[in-house]
Structures are given as structure tokens and as C-alpha cells.
Symmetry: C2
Subunit: 326 residues, 2 copies
């Protein structure tokens, strides 16, 4: 479609400096060469973020760019992969101007340096609807060492990085609710919602340690459900052990409802993983080495499903809030 | 975001049969392994299509799926690559129901068989806006044989496959204009708009023959402009030589305006390429072997830009219609 070709040519110029690899031909071709690496597997993933769902039109454009990239880097990290590059398809409504795009490109440039990745290809299309950014990212693991969801075993311990629930809490703050909270708490939650921290240094260290792993994007309970389903095991979580931030305590308090909200909210982008109990010390060393907190939150046993226990070992029921029914 | 998790689980079930490769883990993981091939380069490209821009909400869902996939296969073909697989990020508004999605998945399944490709990964997100489908496709060429845009040389001839302008004409028909046309002409143009024919059999045969190639998506003149710019040459097109379908003649007539509209319309998904004059016979053999018409439409010379000539060799001016200014 030629309606906005001139604009798209400007956008192409804006993004060209993001692509340093010879294999991307300066983003001036239709395609790129994805570098093969001997003795390694190429790991590839795709995730889109959409205005009004994963970010708000009031979010600074550089944080939108960072989130679009980081949710993909988070997937790679959970698989044990070191990120290398990405392709990006942008759908832009007319209200997005060059100022917005320049800030967006700055966010990408900064995160590319931070995470050591390069833009390998892109596409820009017009839309009458919401801004959408679909990224396909790739990285490498030594051959055969990808960490899957499907290899959890009865007897494994369950761990999670960082804190859980901040993403959902941050969305609430981003929507302008709870102005009564302290500025510090609101800033913390807002930042967690807007700029996730993909665990790219920790993920690769879990190779050979974790049996199963994934990144927490749909909500911890739903995501552990994926491990349960594909590994054909039951995952038991001690709700009180799931780490929550002080800011989230300030937002939601400490009742059972608050715990369930944290465990079923989305957009955390932490890594949940299972590992043999004999590796518990190794896991703590990985945490120490990367400076990323890792908490033991439960165990894997025979059976199916995810069950939550309170401090007294009693089951906590989760309502339909965690899953919608179509 | 958990709002539509149950629905997305159903969608995942719907798409799981599209993924047969062991490397995709039944689409039940966050990521897949992209197979490396010794002695080859992996070629990767991304293109999104958006409702209201590349397709209309009245288009049958199976054609929407086909178009989303085929515009990417078209890019691979133009680079000389044989397609192998793809990842897909879907953004779905609430009005898209399971019936629409089933038809969409059927279209993908059929085209996967037709083109020999496999779904390697996906992501589904909600949107309040337009349906958008971003696909990242990959394929292979023998190492070092990718056909770039940037290697056209003065003295090359310029060729194009199929007919030009049908995509733009088809959009007009899809919008309900020109009901006075014959049913056959309208159907032809509509089909060309909705279901492009990626030249996947022809593209790989251009390796070692074409110096430069790309797929015609922005409009022939704009796309040849990319070859001109990256190859630092002038491309001269004899407007009368550019093949147009009988249906397009019926729609737009045969005046200079009709020619300019055809040459600046988008969504053709044919391959435009340049080749040394000594390969002209080889090009015709490729055409004969694949059954895909190939027309000689001009030549490459020293200089810059794209110039159009009429039957008498006089320059044709193209107004701002071909490019918008931001």
C-alpha cells in the first residue's frame, strides 16, 4: 500500500542504525541471513504487545519499545538461551508521529546495547486501530540444552526469580487508580509494568540445573499450569513463599485475596522453574552469582494441576479470576 | 494478561495441528528450535498484514490467513530461498469468534501443504483495534547465494513475473466499487488482491541468474526505486511492456493514467529482477519450466532513480500518487 510510503521511508531511516550486522544488509533488503552457529541450537520465539492491553497510550514510547523487546528476551532466557537478534513488525495508527517514533527507536537502541542484540529485519504497516509491535527474537544454546516446560519431575522443587504480581499491580497504577499510594510505591509498580527485567544473565545458568522452566507472563498459576500439563505432574505452591514486593503489599495488602491476585496477574516476566532437590544449593549459587533473587515456592509431585496451600498447609481455592471461559 | 486466557487456550488447540516439527514442541513451549542446515544460509523475513489496510473485514478468513503467509513467502522467493517454516503473532479484537478462527486455521493448513512450510511458534493477544497478523518466515539458500536488491548492474535487463496492478485493482473491487464490471473480471481482481501467488518455485531458479530481485509489494515503481537506490543505478521501464491483466484493462482502460496506477499500486507480490542480457534465454527457460509468465520490461543503466518511458520512448511523469510525503 502506498498511502504512507514516504513516512515509512523515514521510519526505515530511523531504524537503520539499529542494525549493525552485515547479515541484515542495513535493513535495505526484504530479508536477512540468520547466522548459524556450529554446535548450537537456534532458539526462536515471537510475542506481540498491543496498546491498551500490554501498554497504555500514556506510556513513554521508549518504555513501549523496551517492553516489546524484553518480553521476547524473557522467553529466550527461560529457555536457557543467550539472545542475539530480532525482527520487528510495527503497526502504526496515524496519531503516531516521528517524535514518538524517535523516542521508541532510542529505547530500542539503548536496550540493544544492554542486552547485546541486533535488529535483523522489520516491517511497518499502517493501521486504523491500536499500535501493535510484534517481535520475533532468536538466540543460541549449546546443542540439545534448551530448557523445556515438559521435563519437570515428581520430587523437583519449584523456584521463581524476583517478585510476583507487580505487573498486574503496575497496570492498575498506570490506569490512574490508587493515587493514595506513596510516590515511591507507585513508581516501582509502574516501572515493573512498563519495563520488565528479562532474566537474560540467569537463564543460561539454569542449563543443566533446571528440569523445566518458562517465563511468567500469563500469571504464575496459569504458567505453572503449563508445566503441569506438559510435564504431566502436579505443582504444589506454598502461597506464603511466593515473593511479593513491598510496593505490592502497599497496593493490595496481605490478605488471601491479595495473594490470589498476585498469583493470577500477568506481565511479571520472571522465570519459574523446577529443579531436582539436590540442586538447591546450585540454584542459590546462580542467584548469588547474578544478583537476582530466587525463591523456593513449592514442589512437584505425581498427579495433575496446580494446587495452592496457605501457611497451615490448607488448600486455597482459586476462582474463575485466573482463567476466563470462552 | 489473563482476561481471555481460556479463549487463547482454545486457539492454541486450534493451531497445534499446524505444527508437525519436533522442533516446535507441539507449540506447547515458549520457543522453538530453528533447524540449521549445513552448507546453507537461513533467510528470515517479517511482514504483517492489518485489517482495513491489507485485507477487509468482509474477506473470507481463510484468504486472510493465506495472504498473511504468502506475503512472507513472496519475500523469501524473491531472495531465492525455499520456504521452510514460520512463526505467527495474532492480535484479535473481541468480534473475532471461533468460527472465523477455524476458517483461518483451515486456510493456513491448506497453504502449509501447498508450500511445504510448518508453523514453528505463535502468540495470540487481544486488541481493541484491527485484526493484525504478523508473520516471520524462514527458508534456506545454498550458502552465499541469496539474491539481494543491491547487485543490479548497468547493462542488466529488467524482468517481472505475472501481471502488475491487479492488487490495487482488486482492492477497489473489494471495496464494492465498479459493480458494472463483468463478474469474471471482478472475481479475477478480487482473488489477486486477497490471495497473492508467491513465486516460490521460480525464485530459487533465479539464483545465479538474477543480479538483483525483490517482491513487488509497495508498487512496481517504488520497489524498483529500492533496487535503484541500493544498487546505485538507474532503472528504465518501458511502460507499455509492463504486463497487465485483461481484467485490469476492463477496470482502468488503457490510458496513461491506467498505466501509472498499475505501476504505482501495491500488493502485487510478483518478483521484479534484473539479469545480465546474456541470461535472457535462461530467464525464458525458467519461465517455461515453472509455467510462470516473465516479461522483459526495461533495462538498467548508469545513473539514479526510476524512469518510465512511453511507446515512443518519451518520459512519463509520475505525480505524487506513487509516494506520499510525511
Amino acid at each position: 500500500m502506498s498511502d504512507r510510503l514516504g513516512e515509512f521511508a523515514l521510519i526505515a531511516e530511523l531504524f537503520a542504525p539499529l542494525s549493525k550486522s552485515r547479515n541484515a544488509f542495513g535493513l535495505k533488503d526484504d530479508a536477512a541471513i540468520l547466522p548459524q552457529r556450529r554446535g548450537h541450537d537456534i532458539i526462536v520465539t515471537t510475542d506481540a504487545i498491543v496498546e491498551g492491553v500490554h501498554f497504555l497510550d500514556t506510556d513513554p514510547p521508549d518504555t513501549v519499545a523496551r517492553k516489546a523487546l524484553r518480553v521476547n528476551l524473557s522467553d529466550l532466557a527461560a529457555k536457557g538461551a543467550r539472545p542475539a537478534g530480532y525482527l520487528m513488525a510495527l503497526s502504526l495508527p496515524p496519531r503516531v508521529d516521528m517524535k514518538w517514533l524517535r523516542s521508541f527507536a532510542d529505547g530500542l537502541a539503548d536496550d540493544q546495547r544492554r542486552f547485546g542484540v541486533d535488529l535483523l529485519g522489520g516491517d511497518t504497516t499502517a493501521t486504523a486501530g491500536a499500535t501493535a509491535i510484534a517481535i520475533t527474537a532468536f538466540g543460541y544454546v549449546p546443542r540439545g540444552t534448551i530448557i523445556l516446560r515438559s521435563r519437570a519431575r515428581a520430587g523437583d522443587l519449584v523456584f521463581v526469580t524476583g517478585t510476583i504480581g507487580d505487573g498486574a499491580g503496575g497496570l492498575q497504577v498506570a490506569r490512574g487508580e490508587r493515587k493514595d499510594l506513596s510516590r515511591a510505591a507507585r513508581d516501582h509498580l509502574l516501572h515493573r509494568f512498563r519495563v520488565p527485567q528479562p532474566r537474560t544473565t540467569l537463564g543460561p545458568l539454569l542449563r543443566g540445573v533446571a528440569n523445566a522452566a518458562l517465563d511468567v507472563s500469563d500469571g504464575l498459576v496459569a504458567d505453572l499450569g503449563h508445566i503441569s500439563e506438559t510435564s504431566k505432574v502436579r505443582v504444589v505452591i506454598e502461597a506464603q513463599s511466593v515473593p511479593r514486593s513491598a510496593a505490592l503489599h502497599a497496593l493490595w495488602g496481605d490478605g488471601p485475596d491479595a495473594i490470589v491476585k498476585a498469583l493470577t496477574g500477568g506481565d511479571d516476566y520472571e522465570i519459574a522453574f523446577t529443579a531436582s532437590a539436590r540442586f538447591e544449593r546450585k540454584v542459590m549459587l546462580v542467584s548469588a552469582r547474578t544478583g537476582i533473587p530466587v525463591s523456593k515456592i513449592g514442589w512437584v509431585e505425581k498427579g495433575r494441576g496446580v494446587s495452592l496451600r496457605d501457611g497451615a498447609g490448607e488448600p486455597i481455592e482459586i476462582g474463575a479470576g485466573g482463567w476466563s471461559h470462552f
